[in-house]
């Protein structure tokens, strides 16, 4: 942890809202990314990320300075998202996430945007096929580059449990990606040439 971050944390511990705002500014992206990858919806991810920072704000006096702050923060986010997933009875589908595939909208789009959007779909499908804990573990691995020990600390698991979950998740994601890779190529071709015949 950098010196300035320690200072900011000290100020935040003394209920300095400005100092806490600096922490929010600094860590909003990893927290939001974890929430988005866990929940698959921008609205839910925003709510979950805001809730994560609120919970951290309330529990800041229980934070152990010997522990990494980002690990602690992502632990709150991951547990909150897992709870949300378990509470969720019906999967939420956000219509604005499909705007790139609106049938009525045939205006030309840059290929890169389309590819990016399809890749995001594949990522979402892959992650959705995992259990909540497997998903959290693989997100922390791929997007946070966390070690197995850090993932274990974040998700309150043993290192061997994390290894097992990462193992299962990687195999599953490789399978989904393999199944979807053909579709990715065909979609891009269709967009370029108008019909699948080309």
């Amino acid at each position: 942890m950098s010196f300035s971050e320690t200072e900011i944390l000290q100020k935040a511990l003394q209920k300095d809202d400005g100092a806490f705002a600096e922490l929010v500014e600094k860590y909003q992206s990893p927290v939001y990314n974890l929430c988005f990858r866990m929940l698959g919806s921008e609205v839910e991810a925003e709510d979950a990320a805001q809730e994560t920072f609120w919970r951290a704000y309330q529990a800041l006096n229980r934070y152990d300075p010997n522990r990494s702050f980002i690990t602690w923060l992502l632990s709150i986010a991951a547990h909150h998202c897992i709870d949300q997933q378990r509470k969720r009875k019906v999967p939420v589908i956000e219509m604005d996430e499909f705007e790139d595939f609106d049938i009525a909208d045939r205006s030309p789009q840059p290929e890169s945007i389309l590819v990016r959007s399809q890749e995001e779909d594949v990522i979402a499908e892959g992650l959705a096929s995992l259990s909540e804990l497997d998903r959290a573990a693989i997100i922390l691995r791929y997007w946070q580059d966390f070690s197995e020990e850090e993932i274990a600390a974040t998700l309150s698991l043993t290192v061997s449990a994390v290894k097992s979950r990462l193992h299962r998740a990687r195999l599953q994601l490789a399978k989904v990606l393999k199944d979807q890779s053909g579709r990715l190529f065909v979609e891009v071709e269709k967009e370029n040439y108008g019909t699948p015949a080309f």
């Binding site: 929010v24 991810a45 925003e46 920072f53 193992h167 990687r170 994601l173 890779s181």
Partner: protein, 179 residues
């Protein structure tokens, strides 16, 4: 061909020792299935590692700071409600236990007798209270105790009113020092 433990080793390759790595390489040279899995895993790793993280909409921190006072107030209200429910539950449990202990019997007749006894005790308490007031009225002149009683009753009503107003404010507005 046997694919285990090679499939497991492929997923956890970084933890293999030199001998295991050598055995795995030899197996991959002869096994197309495991080679395909190795490729799939590498492609998946590359795909996910290259995916950029999602970032929140502009103004995330501002939205958090704007919501902070409301969240604080809601949390205070929640705590006050829990505290009050706790107090009421404790009082209800105590009252129930006292009444139950007083009237617990095996027969309906004895239960009715106990109920009458409790009522009698209440009447006796009122009786004693009026006796005390009567004695006080004899000792203290009427010109003094009548204003004293009126002041006491007024004080009691004001106190009860203040309590009701405070509880209402705490319940509906939250316990906050902010204006």
């Amino acid at each position: 061909m046997e694919h285990q433990p090679f499939r497991m080793w492929l997923v956890d390759r970084s933890n293999l020792n030199e001998d295991e790595e050598e055995i795995l390489r030899n197996h991959l040279a002869a096994c197309t299935e495991c080679t395909a899995l190795e490729k799939d895993l590498a492609v998946a790793d590359q795909f996910f590692l290259n995916s950029p993280p999602r970032i929140p909409r502009e103004g995330f921190t501002r939205r958090f700071l704007v919501s902070l006072p409301e969240r604080k107030q809601q949390e205070q209200m929640r705590q006050v409600k829990i505290w009050m429910i706790g107090i009421f539950l404790a009082l209800a449990v105590n009252f129930t236990l006292i009444v139950a202990a007083s009237i617990y019997t095996h027969t309906t007749t004895a239960w009715l007798v106990n109920l009458v006894v409790i009522y009698g005790s209440f009447l006796a308490f009122l009786d004693q209270s009026s006796l005390v007031l009567h004695t006080v009225s004899l000792v203290i002149p009427q010109q003094v105790w009548i204003p004293l009683v009126i002041a006491g009753v007024a004080w009691g009503i004001a106190g009860a009113g203040l309590w009701v107003w405070t509880m209402r404010r705490i319940l509906f507005s939250g316990a906050t020092n902010e204006a």
